[in-house]
Every structure is written in C-alpha cells, then in structure tokens.
C-alpha cells in the first residue's frame, strides 16, 4: 500500500514530561485510513505514554492532535471513546468484579425504559465474543476466566468502541497462536472497513505479518517511520536499539548437566495440577510448555510453595524438603519471577532499590538490615548488568515501563543468588533487545551451575534455551523432550497429540 490521502489521525509535536523524565519529546504519529500502524520501540521508549496522551488518559504537555482534519483534545478516555477511538491499554484493564458482559458494555449498556437490559446485554455479549472464537457465559464474573480470555474481552470491547481508530497496546502478550490468528482476522476485517489501527507489540513476526507501516520510538523521540514492505526485521531492530543486535543463540547444548539438585515426586494439588514428577540438575534449563491454561503457572507456583501441594513430595539434594510457603522456598534457595508482575511481582510504591533488595532482606530477616552501602552496590550492579532504564533508584517501581519492571524483578531474585530459579513468562512484554539479553542471561546462569525452570508460551524461546522441555496439557504432564528432540515442531506435536477432547 502506498501513502494514500490525508492522515485520519495526526498527532504532532506531542511532548510529555514526568518529574525527572522526558517521556515524549515532540513525537509525531500519522495514521492513515485503513492501515495497521505498528508502534515500535524498546521498553520505556514511550509507546504506552504516547497512547495515553492520544486517548486522554494523560494530559499531554505539548502538541496537537487532529482527527479527520479537526483538532481534538480528549480530556478523558470517555471523551476519546466518544470520538471513536477504542483502546486496549497495556496489561488487561478490565474490572475483575464485573461480569464479562458488563465489562464489554460498560458505559454503553443497552437500556429499556432507562434501565439496563441485562438479558439483551448478555445475548449481545455472547454473540460478540463468538466472533473471537469464545463461547462462554458472559454473565459470569470476568475474574473466573483466564488472562487470555480477559485479553480477548478487552480487545472486543475496544473494537466495539472504535468507530475510527483502534489502538492495541501489546494485546498479544498473553495470547496463544490460535487466538492471535483470530485477532488478526478481526483486524484485517476492520482495516478493510476503513478503520485505522495502531498496534504495539514486541513480536516482530507479528508486526510484519499484520502491519503496513511502523513508527519507531527511542527514548521518547521518533527515530523513523517506515513502510514495512520496504524494510527487514533486522533494519527495524537496528532502528529501535540504535545498534546492531548481536546473534545470541550459540550452541547451547555444549554444557552438560551437573549434579542432581531437585527431585519432584508426584507433586499435585487437587483441582489445580495433576501429579507432576521431574528431576532438576544443576546447570540445566527445563522448559515448561503448554497451551494457555495447561497448568504451567500452577506448576511453578506449586514448586515455589505459593500454593500448597496436597500430594507428593520434593527432595532437595536427596533430602526431603517441606515447602509450605514461598518463605520456605526462598530459604531452600528457590527463586521465582511470577507471571503477573503487576499484582504478584512489584511492590509498586516502594523504590526500585527496595524492590531489588526485598527478597534478600526478607531472607536475612528483619533483625539484620542490609547496610545502605551494600544495598546501593547490589542495586547499582543489577541495574547495570540488566540494563534497567530508570531516572533514579529511588523512584517508585510502578513508574518504570513494563519491561524494566520485569528486569528489576529478575534483579530481586538474582540478588539472592538462588540455586533454583523459576521463571514464569520471563519475556512477556519485553523488547527484542532485552529479550535477547534475558535469553543470554539464562544461558549464563545455567553455565554458572544454576538450575532453571522456565515456563513460557514462546516456543522459539523455549527451544533456544532449554536443555529439556516438559510439556503440559490439561494440567497433566504429557511428555518430556530432551536433546535433539527439542524443536518447536515436536513441542507443538506433543501439545496436540492424542486429540482427546481437551478443555471444553
């Protein structure tokens, strides 16, 4: 597609200052009718901030926005919704206490005689969601559904609100390939009907698959706008990072596993995960693969004591270990980066420094505070090692961009120098550069003799760093792949094998 007429949405000179940081600096974004426009950039580049400025969630500090040639100035998200801009913000932003239908129709409920017509609302919601391949009872509360379902509901809501523009901030972060395909189908339809779509993701494959054009941000500035037909992934990455991305995936099978560290025998929790057995050696990365809802997160939680097993046992170095809660796990040298960093990871109001030191301090006990100098040293070390971008170590961690929060969490656990590191979706929402760094880091940790258990929905990534892959389906352990068996194809097969009617 070549550049058509005038842009539908034109933002120019958008600036946004935060105390101590310039998040956006005279950013320009041109959105043409009927195009899918990718917004790219590293973690903390300012993508989400730009979206929020466009939709009135933030007040911008400078710049103009025109829609259809007219100046607009949405002061709240409600106003931008009325203007026909539907948005999915980063992280699911829906209300867990309301039903699916209520979330879907919040603010535009069908009414009869001034009263909300619940029956009609539920029917319409059911129909709308069928279009996304979801057949569920919309009268159930949202929090009874998995993150993926919630994400789809959020998308459905935004689509329904978008008369002119649809903005999707990392909508695919917690989606499966199938759902992504469905989503892309919907996007194509909308695009054909003349809608403009802004699409943010860190999956470059997806960018190239669906988008026509991309604007690349770096440190709050636009560093380029490209027609994607004209460039390669490599170009885009270089533009984003401002440097070349060195090839990361070396020959990983080189190192051989060390001593047996952890034996898991039939660990299970009724209703959550079926008996699960596995051995974990030092210097080994075991990948946990499976579809959404297959029980990867549960397995990780079970090992870490976040949920208590009601069956089976665990041996550490041959001795039986009782892990009743995360504290026990930490004491035994476990560490875990949880899947949902917002609610289970960061301690939002505390400084980045405190967040990094938290687990180590908790393990040491309150009686032995870590000296300030030591704290500073540790924090500085990991900020540098993991390349965490921040204005100051004293800023509350909630102000960091998503990817940087993830790195800070990694830092928290690395600071405890664990024997076993459990990572649940470690690269969710992380940019390509950091992605590569984290994969490299996993490699490094493994080489240093740490045992890692990584749950991830990205098969390529699993293949890249795992020395063994355990495949889960319906909360069952179905297959273990080792050595050369570890290929994306094999994993997919294992997941899909014996197509007994799974999750229905």
């Amino acid at each position: 597609m070549t550049t058509p007429q005038a842009p539908l949405l034109h933002a120019s000179g958008i600036s946004k200052f935060f105390p101590g940081a310039v998040a956006l600096d005279e950013v320009e974004l041109k959105l043409y009718p009927g195009e899918v426009h990718a917004l790219l950039g590293e973690n903390g580049a300012g993508k989400s901030t730009l979206i929020k400025c466009l939709t009135g969630a933030y007040r911008r500090d400078g710049g103009t926005i025109t829609l259809d040639g007219e100046d607009i100035d949405a002061k709240s998200t409600a106003e931008s919704q009325e203007l026909g801009i539907g948005t999915v913000y980063q992280e699911v932003n829906l209300l867990p206490n309301l039903t699916v239908a209520e979330n879907l129709f919040m603010g535009r409920q069908p009414t009869r005689l001034g009263l909300v017509n619940r029956r009609q609302m539920n029917t319409q919601a059911r129909e709308a969601l069928l279009g996304y391949g979801l057949d569920l009872d919309p009268g159930e509360p949202l929090n009874s559904f998995s993150v993926a379902v919630q994400q789809v509901v959020a998308i459905a809501r935004a689509v329904a609100l978008s008369g002119k523009v649809l903005i999707l901030d990392e909508p695919t972060a917690s989606l499966d390939r199938d759902e992504v395909d469905l989503l892309f189908g919907v996007i194509r339809q909308l695009k054909d009907s003349g809608l403009s779509i802004v699409f943010i993701t860190h999956f470059l494959d997806q960018v190239f698959e669906i988008s026509d054009r991309a604007t690349v941000l770096r440190n709050g500035r636009v560093v380029g706008e490209r027609l994607l037909a004209d460039v390669t992934q490599h170009d885009v990455v270089t533009l984003m990072l401002g440097r070349q991305l060195e090839a990361t995936v070396q020959d990983r099978k080189a190192g051989k596993p060390g001593a047996l560290l952890l034996e898991i025998n039939d660990l299970a929790k009724r209703g959550m995960i079926e008996p699960f057995s596995m051995n974990l050696h030092r210097g080994e990365v075991v990948g946990l693969a499976g579809l959404l809802g297959s029980g990867r997160t549960e397995t990780a939680n079970l090992l870490f004591g976040a949920v208590q097993a009601d069956h089976g046992k665990m041996l550490i170095d041959g001795r039986e270990a009782r892990i009743a809660n995360p504290r026990d796990a930490v004491a035994q040298g476990f560490a875990m980066c949880p899947e949902d960093r917002k609610t289970h990871g960061i301690v939002g109001d505390l400084s980045v420094r405190d967040n990094i030191i938290l687990a180590l301090q908790a393990r040491q006990g309150w009686m032995r505070p870590i000296p300030r100098a030591k704290v500073h040293e540790i924090a500085e070390h990991y900020v540098k090692a993991l390349d965490i971008r921040l204005a100051s170590l004293d800023m509350p961690i909630r102000l960091l961009s998503g990817g940087n929060q993830q790195k800070a969490l990694l830092a928290r656990w690395l600071a405890t120098e664990p024997d076993v590191l459990i990572l649940d979706e470690p690269t969710r929402g992380i940019d390509v550069g950091a992605h590569a760094e984290i994969i490299a880091l996993i490699e490094r940790l493994r080489e240093n003799g740490m045992a890692l258990l990584v749950a991830s929905s990205e098969l390529e990534e699993l293949v890249a760093y795992s020395t063994r892959v355990v495949v889960l389906r319906d909360r069952h352990q179905v297959r273990e792949l080792t050595g050369d068996e570890i290929t994306a194809d094999n994993i997919v097969h294992a997941i899909a094998a014996e197509p007994e009617k799974g999750a229905a």
């Binding site: 409600a78 309301l98 057949d135």
Partner: protein, 330 residues
Amino acid sequence: MIRSTHLPLMVTLATFVLAFALCGWQYPSMLSTRVVANLLTDNAFLGIVAVGMTFVILSGGIDLSVGSVIAFTGVFLAVILRDTSIHPLAAFVLVLLITTMFGAAMGAVIHFLEMPPFIVTLAGMFLARGAAYVLSTDSVPITHEFYDTLQDIYWKAPGGGRFRLIGGIMLLVFICGALVAHRTRFGQNVYAVGGGGPTARLMGVPLARTTVGIYAISGGLAGLAGIIFSLYTSAGYSLATVGVELDAIAAVVIGGTLLSGGYGFVAGTFFGILIMGLIQTYIVFDGTLSSWWTKIVIGALLFSFILLQKGLTWATITRKRTATGSAQQS
C-alpha cells in the same frame, strides 16, 4: 438464574431464616407479626441509611458522617418547624437538599482533592454533629398535625403487629436502591469504581460524576433517614444516633458486601439489617444479660456472622476452583 455471584446473598438470607427459626423455637412469641412489624419499623432509618452506605462501600469508600447527618436533619427539622410556619413537606425538601449537597461536597473533596473517604467523612461527621449542636443542644419536640397524620398511617396486622409507614418507605428505598445499583448505568459505574478506580477511568467511567453522586446519595439517604427518625421520635436531638454509621457498616458487611468494594448487593444489606435487628430482639427477649454482657454478646454474634460468611465464601471458592477446569477455551 442463580449464579455463583449471588451466593453471598443466598448465604445471608439463609442465615437470617435459620436464625429466626432458632429464635422462634426458643421464644415462640418471637414468631408473631408484632416482632416482624417491629423489625421493619424500628430499623427503618437504619435500613435507609444502610442503602446509601451500600453504594458507598460498593465503590470502595466509607461514609462515617451518616449518624451525625441523621441527628442534624432531626434537629434542623425540629427547629425549623418550631420557629417558622413552613409546611413539613417543604422542610423535608429543604433538608434533603442540604444533606444531599453535603454528601456531594464530601464526594467532591474526596475526588478532586484525592483525600481518603475515611478522613473526609470523619471531618463531615464532626461538622454535621457540630452544626446540630449549634442549632440546638436541647431535644426539640416536633408538634405538627402533619406529623401526627403520617404517624397514624399503619396497617394493624392480626396478632397486633403494626406495619407503619416508615417501614414501607424503607422497603421502597431498598427496592429503588436495588434497581439503581443493578439496573442503571450509574449503578454499574459504582461497581466499576469499586472494582478499581484507575481501571474504571481508563474504561471511560466518569469518576468525578460517580464519586460525587455516590456520596450525594449517601448524604441524601441519610437525610431521608433523618426525616424517618424524626417521624419515629417526633423530635430532633443533637445527641441522637451516635455510632449509627458503625451499625450501618456492620449491616452492609453482614449483608455480604465487601468493604474493599466491587462486590455485594443492596438486597443483602436488607437481610443484614434484619439480622442485626434480630440479634437485638433476641437479647431483649432473653433479658438476663447485664450491660457489659450485652456488648460482649453483640460483638461475639457479629464475629460469628463474619466467620460464617467467611467460611461459606471460602468453601465456594474452593469448590469453584475444583469445578471450573480450563473451561473457557473453545
């Protein structure tokens, strides 16, 4: 259709029925229409104020000012009816306006100055009672034939129970409250705010309007409760209804609404009120508790209801965990 979300409501209802049956078993005269009528009449003002409190708590807030507002309303009415010749109905409208504005003002302070509701309404509580003192420290009787007319409206049921107007008004308020909460956009917004302020804002919920509205409703209903209370006692007294806010909060919580906001039902509050009334009636029927044992028993019963609710909620969550598989994928 009964959904899992309605469970707390069912639990409260079941608790009430069970408790009532037990009481009746011990004191058969508790199963009379008198007791039923008394439950409605005596708790009318508390019920009305609890409806407002339900909205506030559903939104994740709290309103400590209601007890004082009731007292203020009573004193205001009494003084104005004593000192001027204005008709009670006009006075009702006036006082409802004042209390609604008062509530709205607190809501505005909470929203625009980003101050915690607990503290803002605490200051409101001092202010309203202080204003009542300034109007009159003495208890002022209300003698207006219109009041007598209203008080004489009742239906005498067989068995001696008198179902009075104020009980009816309470039922009406509950019905309206339930409709507003569950069947209007405003009500949905209240739940949304309770589910999470920032998220609700991103979803386009008008936070300012909703917050101000919620506290205005609470203030207005406290005003209405004040009118009802003045009908109930034919007087305005600045020391009246001290601590009613805590009773209302307790009723709302017993009724299954979560103090953290977002979950609960107006109808649940109704049964919460009835349960609280039942506790009091039972203690009077028993009649052997000393002053201090009365307090201890009320506390213990409050605790056991909370515990019961907790247990049932916990049981259902566990059941749900085991029951729902990964049922959502298609």
